[in-house]
């Protein structure tokens, strides 16, 4: 029972905002000691764990290609391509991005999107632009919501798309863990296929919520409409 204190170390470490590497390292050592492993056994556990989880980190091999393409305008081209879809409402645009993100992630192209690569420079500005076209200038609260939903479309799309691709970390982790621990033989392909039903549910649920965002933005504007219209006319007065 006492080994569960290791879990507590993780909770406390994260709750007090320590560096995650240190938290995980300390939790590992503490758990080992609590389970009465010798220092050598703990070091061996770290070593063996690292050696058998190398597959999680091999995606690094794709970085030179991505880096080279970014140098030559991959992101700019993506922006141009997505720009052609500009005449969409916020909700429809984000639902479409969710779909694209899921499909590309399912092909293994997980690093095509992401908060830094696509959400900040492309997705959020386009989602805001679509809302502005419909409603005029956005109050701060509405802008925050549109941005939060842009981030959510990227994350949900990534999480529930990538597992349909065979060579992704989590799939390799499952096969690695189960095949070594239980001496069985699972194929990545079987696991990737069973990620599809959840991927479909994720698209339907989050896509529906994104489409509903349009309606709730209308509602937000109706609620704060009087005030922002008043602000608008005041600014107009000041402009004179």
């Amino acid at each position: 029972m006492i080994v569960l204190l290791g879990v507590l170390v993780v909770i406390l470490g994260f709750a007090t905002r320590r560096n995650p590497l240190l938290v995980v390292g300390v939790a590992g050592i503490a758990t080992g000691l609590l389970a009465k492993l010798s220092p050598q056994e703990i070091l061996a556990a770290f070593g063996n764990g690292f050696a058998s989880s190398r597959s999680v980190t091999i995606f690094v091999i794709t970085l030179p290609v991505i880096g080279l393409l970014e140098r030559h305008g991959l992101q700019e081209q993506a922006r141009t391509l997505i720009g052609r879809l500009g005449k969409l409402t916020t909700g429809r645009f984000l639902a479409l991005y969710l779909l694209l993100r899921q499909l590309t992630a399912a092909l293994g192209l997980t690093s095509i999107g992401g908060p830094a690569q696509s959400v900040r420079p492309m997705v959020a500005p386009m989602a805001e632009g679509a809302a502005e076209r419909r409603h005029g200038p956005l109050p701060e609260r509405v802008r925050e919501r549109v941005r939060s939903y842009s981030a959510s479309a990227d994350t949900v799309g990534l999480f529930f798309g990538e597992d349909c691709f065979l060579a992704i970390g989590s799939i390799l982790l499952i096969t690695g863990f189960v095949n070594t621990t239980y001496h069985t033989h699972l194929e990545p392909l079987q696991l990737a296929l069973w990620a599809i039903p959840t991927a479909v549910c994720a698209f339907l649920i989050h896509g529906f919520r994104l489409l509903r965002l349009d309606r709730s933005l209308d509602h937000d504007f109706a609620a704060s409409g009087g005030r922002s219209a008043a602000e608008g006319s005041r600014t107009a007065e000041e402009a004179k």
Binding site: I61, G67, R71, S152, S170, T181, L186
Partner: protein, 322 residues
């Protein structure tokens, strides 16, 4: 036969080459710490081969991993000024190359899938061409190499140092966070060795009514999600909950179909990732990048989806695994 270990050596060599570049990069204020971190990581990729084959002791590797934890954890790594193109150059290049730029990026998954499905069945002299069981990993490796060659041809780049530099910039911007998923996997295996899973299993056995498979499925999925909320990563929760309930109860005792249980179980964990600030890279970093006042904005947008998907995952295992 092409072995998976050869590919790990290639990844190790890439880390070592990038570490060498970092060691001489004077724009990086912490160049020696960075070089030590990535150099150690590269070296560990080679040494691990002998650990896996049990030809070398695992303890030195454990020491190296803890050294990397200290280097990254005490902020001894940094990043240099990336040598890259200007936005104008990139816009001009994008206008010139157009959607040809997507071809090399798409080559990677294409080659990976071909290796995992077709090349897998090729034999030369009775031996499989690709090491059995590692076709996907090797596919990703070949995909990256072919993608790089195609990419260099598309952008007419002859010097291999250029993509290496570009890749290194991305590596430096990710920093020590790159090691975290692997380290969480290590923590999971230590939890496993220390019997955390068995303890959680004992507790659940006391709570769980005998033979109630739908309850057991729900406990596995909700447990995956809760543990992921605590640990910030489904990778770390997976070995614990699978050792506690997934394998002994759902698969061995109730004869659930292993791929369904495990694949969907992991996805139940992802529902937890959507709602936890511990998963900083997915939830807090976007809030910071988007300059949100409410740093929990993305989490709030994701909570209803995560809840509904957790229910879906429980239903999917219940329907298809038995």
């Amino acid at each position: 036969m092409i072995k998976a270990e050869w590919f790990y050596w290639l990844v190790g060599a890439v880390f070592l080459a990038m570490a060498a570049q970092m060691a001489v990069d004077r724009t990086n204020p912490k160049r020696l710490g960075s070089a030590a971190f990535w150099g150690l990581l590269g070296g560990c990729f080679f040494y691990s081969s002998w650990v896996v084959e049990k030809k070398a002791p695992a303890e030195p590797l454990g020491v190296a991993v803890l050294a990397m934890v200290c280097l990254g954890g005490f902020q001894l790594t940094g990043r240099g000024v990336p040598r890259t193109t200007t936005p104008e150059q990139r816009a001009a290049s994008a206008a010139r190359l157009g959607s040809k730029l997507f071809v090399p990026a798409l080559t990677i998954p294409l080659v990976a899938v071909v290796c995992a499905s077709a090349v897998k069945h090729w034999h030369i002299g009775g031996e499989p061409v690709l090491e059995a069981g590692s076709e996907t990993i090797l596919g990703l490796g070949f995909g990256a190499i072919v993608g790089l060659l195609v990419g260099m041809a598309v952008v007419r780049e002859r010097r291999p140092a250029v993509p290496l530099h570009a890749g290194r910039s991305l590596l430096e911007s990710m920093g020590w966070a790159l090691l975290l998923p692997q380290l969480l996997a290590v923590l999971g295996s230590i939890f496993q060795e220390a019997g955390v899973g068995t303890q959680v299993g004992k507790i659940t056995e006391q709570v769980l009514p005998e033979g109630q498979k739908y309850v057991a499925v729900a406990v596995y999925c909700v447990g995956m999600a809760l543990f992921t909320v605590i640990m910030g990563n489904a990778f770390a929760a997976f070995p614990v909950m699978t050792a506690a309930i997934g394998w002994p109860v759902l698969i061995q005792q109730m004869h659930g179909d292993a791929p369904v249980v495990l694949a969907v179980g992991m996805l139940a964990g992802f529902c937890g990732t959507l709602v936890t600030p511990m998963a900083a890279n997915f939830n807090l970093v976007p809030a910071a990048l988007l300059e949100l006042k409410d740093q929990y904005g993305p989490i709030k947008a994701q909570i209803p989806t995560a809840g509904a998907l957790l229910v879906c995952n429980i239903a999917i295992i219940s329907l298809f695994a038995f």
